[in-house]
């Protein structure tokens, strides 16, 4: 054998590039395959073309629209080697759709079959509140880190338990299946089956029938977070919840808990408001009742008061009447008495007058004044002739004086 050549990387890549450039057949060639993954940036479309187990990165300097992953296409262009990054790229002039790819057809058929079996229906949804979340994903990838950081940032006290599994390659299926089995034994509240984005073929395991059935049969609700947002897998359909990316799944967990807490607090508030309302209702009723009692009592007291005062007035009036009556009687009597006395007085006066008159008439003086004279002998009145004898010295008493005489004859 001759001596082995030693080249620098640029020398090697330059050499490889010249080989590619010299191979004319590679300058204008049509290739058929399925679109594996596609992205468009600045008017340039990057996509992978797959067939069987093989894959080639392609680029076309135009915007590919309405071409879905799994579409079978015919691509025309040239194969180029890029010395700078040592990559082989197919630079396409055109991309022509020629039907759905085999893999896509297989996927569609399997999906229909599983759907008919009801594997996609009534999948257990994540519970209303999550205390522990199991994550089936690669121990090494960024996925578990993303999930942890999202959940931690929300500070919701959710436990995250990693169930390490290989998520691509031949061992992936069994690895994920056994992890899922373990999760179901441990009874986590929910499990996220997570895988970061990758070329479409990298997600093949998530389209396996075995895994789809295991996910559909999981008692622990499954959140499928496989690939990018645009990729749908059978695992997504069999899960209780499908999230575009692992971060979105972590957000969903947080949202579930936040939503629960919000509902919980709202309910608590409602209960407290309702209780408060019932309480104040009762209080108001009691207060009203108390007030009406007080009013009634006040009224009753007022009425009793008036009754007493009125009765007292009646008493006073009655006694006044009685007293007035008696007073009147007394006055009447007194008046009567006075009248009687007056009468008596008058009567007496009259009688006296009469008597006086009578007396007056029979008065000696009165008789004397009519020419008669009283005759006395010594100290005695001579009322009869027999009282006198001749020679008696007598006194003749007149009304205005007297005279002395001597009896000369008695008959």
């Amino acid at each position: 054998m001759g001596s082995v050549r030693e080249l620098t990387v640029s020398q090697l890549n330059g050499y490889i590039k010249s080989v590619f450039d010299d191979e004319l057949i590679l300058h204008n060639i049509n290739v058929s395959g399925e679109i594996g993954q596609i992205s468009v940036r600045d008017g340039v479309s990057y996509f992978s073309l797959t067939e069987g187990n093989c894959n080639i990165n392609c680029v076309i300097f135009s915007t590919l629209e309405q071409i879905d992953v799994g579409t079978k296409v015919l691509v025309g262009g040239r194969v180029a080697f890029y010395a700078k990054n040592g990559r082989v790229n197919f630079t396409a002039n055109f991309v022509k759709t020629i039907g759905q790819g085999e893999k896509f057809n297989e996927f569609t058929l399997l999906k229909e079959r599983l759907s008919k079996e009801g594997l996609f229906d009534n999948r257990p949804k994540p519970p209303v509140y999550i205390r522990e979340v199991a994550v089936i994903t690669s121990e090494a990838g960024a996925v578990i880190h993303d999930i942890m950081s999202v959940i931690r940032s929300k500070n919701l006290n959710v436990g995250v338990k990693l169930y390490p599994a290989s998520v691509q390659g031949d061992s992936a299926e069994n690895s994920i299946l056994s992890a899922l089995k373990k999760v179901n034994v441990d009874c986590s509240d929910v499990v996220i089956i997570a895988r970061g984005g990758g070329a479409n073929y990298d997600l093949d395991v998530f389209n396996s029938e075995k895994l789809a059935r295991a996910v559909a049969g999981s008692e622990v609700p499954v959140i499928s977070a496989v690939g990018h947002e645009i990729d749908y897998t059978l695992c997504d359909f069999c899960a209780g919840l499908r999230c575009g990316t692992p971060s979105i799944a972590a957000e969903a967990i947080s949202d579930i808990n936040l939503n629960f807490l919000a509902r919980f607090y709202t309910a608590l508030q409602k209960i407290s408001i309702e209780t408060e309302r019932l309480y104040s209702d009762k209080l108001a009723k009691t207060y009203r009742a108390a007030i009406s009692i007080v009013h009634a009592i006040d009224k009753k007291v007022g009425m009793d008061w008036q009754r007493i005062i009125a009765t007292e007035k009646r008493l006073y009036n009655a006694i006044c009447l009685l007293s007035a009556r008696d007073e009147r009687n007394v006055f009447d009597l007194a008046e009567k008495m006075t009248n009687s006395l007056n009468n008596l007085y008058e009567q007496t006066q009259t009688r006296l007058k009469t008597a006086a008159t009578l007396l007056d008439y029979s008065s000696p003086l009165k008789i004397i004044s009519k020419g008669f004279a009283k005759v006395t002998v010594g100290n005695k009145d001579a009322v009869s002739a027999s009282d006198l004898k001749v020679a008696d010295n007598v006194k003749l008493i007149f009304a205005d004086g007297y005279a002395e005489a001597k009896i000369t004859k008695v008959r």
């Binding site: 009754r307 009765t311 007292e312 009646r314 008493l315 009655a318």
Partner: protein, 69 residues
């Protein structure tokens, strides 16, 4: 209810007195009796009023403390 009975008695006395046909002495005796009763009724009523105000105040305190609390 003593007050109610006393009040009734008082009114009976008033009626008797109003009806008349009695001597002043009898009337005065009734009047004295009536005034005594009226005084006792008013005393009772005053006591009731005091009691009511006390209860009212208690109530007001309670409701105020509820409204503050």
């Amino acid at each position: 209810m003593a007050l109610e009975q006393d009040l009734k008695k008082l009114e009976d006395i008033a009626e008797k007195l109003e009806r008349g046909g009695i001597s002043l002495n009898e009337g005065i005796a009734l009047y004295e009796n009536g005034i005594e009763l009226a005084k006792s009724c008013l005393n009772d009523l005053n006591a009731s009023k005091d009691k009511i105000s006390a209860i009212k105040e208690e109530m007001a305190k309670l409701t105020n403390s509820q409204q503050e609390g």
